[in-house]
Amino acid sequence: MHELSIAQEILSSARAALQPYPGARLERVRVAVGELTAIEPELLRFAWEALLEGTPEAACDLDVEWRPAQQLCATCGVPKARPPRGWLPVCGDCGGPLRVDGGQELDLLQVSFVVPDGENGHERDD
């Protein structure tokens, strides 16, 4: 159960990304999690809620985009349909070996935030 450590890294990365916006409050964070990262989206969301509980950003949502790994035929390069979380021993079409691609993503994609009036460091024209 290392999802709490990962949630902490997401939070500190998101806050670091907001440094140019003084007073900004996190509203929504979107991450990508690959199947081969050994991280469970449900546990990650739970850890995120636990981490933010009681803070001013407790309402901030964590969106997790799940990125499954693909098995591609080493001969023709075409991805083959896998059972969910299952693995094909060989290519169902030609019987040849398959290679595994993707599923290693662990990325901070997008950070949405609110800047309260009067705390925005950037001048506005309106």
Binding site: H2, A74, V111
Partner: protein, 223 residues
């Protein structure tokens, strides 16, 4: 007023930076570094003891041990005459690159040919954290069963080397070594699989030869 930015960065960027710094210092020192990952009780420390007995006269070995509690593993390797530093995680299920960096600062090891980093016994969490190693080694003991690579695909997909341990138990179980080999190959077509028994010594020479070959290969590359 709500705004959105797209940082598009690695969540573990801080760990990756620490790991990259470790990797360049290991390259400058010409030290081969392994990150050993397995379930508790699969025989990581016992394999390191068997490895040390065979290699200690030829290579300068050192070890960082990760455990939740006790200095027991580091003590076992120190008893064989190699420097060992124990990281106590106090409950955390994995090592990260910053812990390894601090450990090396505190341990002040002599120059090493091979540094073993024995991770906390856990087949899941340590997988995510780069420690600056040359490669990960997944260990799987015969007693754990032959279905584990597909059940824990992340580590077996990333480990360049899978070591089956306790192979002396093969005659007493239904463990299918070929089935494990097929699963590992499916997840990692370039992966190497070795069957070993630290008790009988089976396969340990091949494992030691792999270490010597990888060390020689690393030293041939420009740092």
């Amino acid at each position: 007023m709500s705004e959105t930015i797209d940082p598009r960065q690695k969540i573990l960027a801080a760990n990756a930076a620490a790991a990259a710094a470790l990797r360049s210092s290991f390259a400058a020192a010409g030290t081969l570094v392994l990150n050993l990952i397995s379930s508790p009780g699969s025989g990581k420390t016992t394999l390191l003891e068997a490895t040390t007995r065979r290699l200690v006269q030829r290579l300068r070995l050192g070890c960082i041990e990760g455990d939740i509690a006790t200095e027991r593993d580091a003590d076992r390797l120190r008893a064989l005459g190699i420097p060992a530093y124990q990281i106590l995680t106090g409950g955390a299920c994995h090592l990260d690159a910053r812990q390894v960096h601090r450990a090396l600062d505190e341990a002040v090891f002599p120059p090493l040919d091979v540094l073993f980093i024995e991770n906390v016994g856990n087949l899941i969490c340590p997988t995510s954290y780069d420690l600056g190693e040359d490669f990960k080694v997944a260990l799987l003991s015969v007693a754990e069963g032959d279905d584990k690579p597909f059940k824990y695909p992340a580590i077996f997909a990333r480990a360049e080397v899978t070591v089956i341990t306790k192979s002396d138990l093969l005659p007493y179980t239904s463990f299918d070594l070929d089935a494990v080999r097929r699963q590992v190959t499916t997840l990692n077509p370039d992966g190497v699989l070795l069957a070993t028994s630290s008790r009988t010594g089976e396969g340990v020479d091949a494992w030691c030869q792999l270490l010597a070959d990888r060390l020689a290969g690393k030293r041939r590359q420009p740092a």
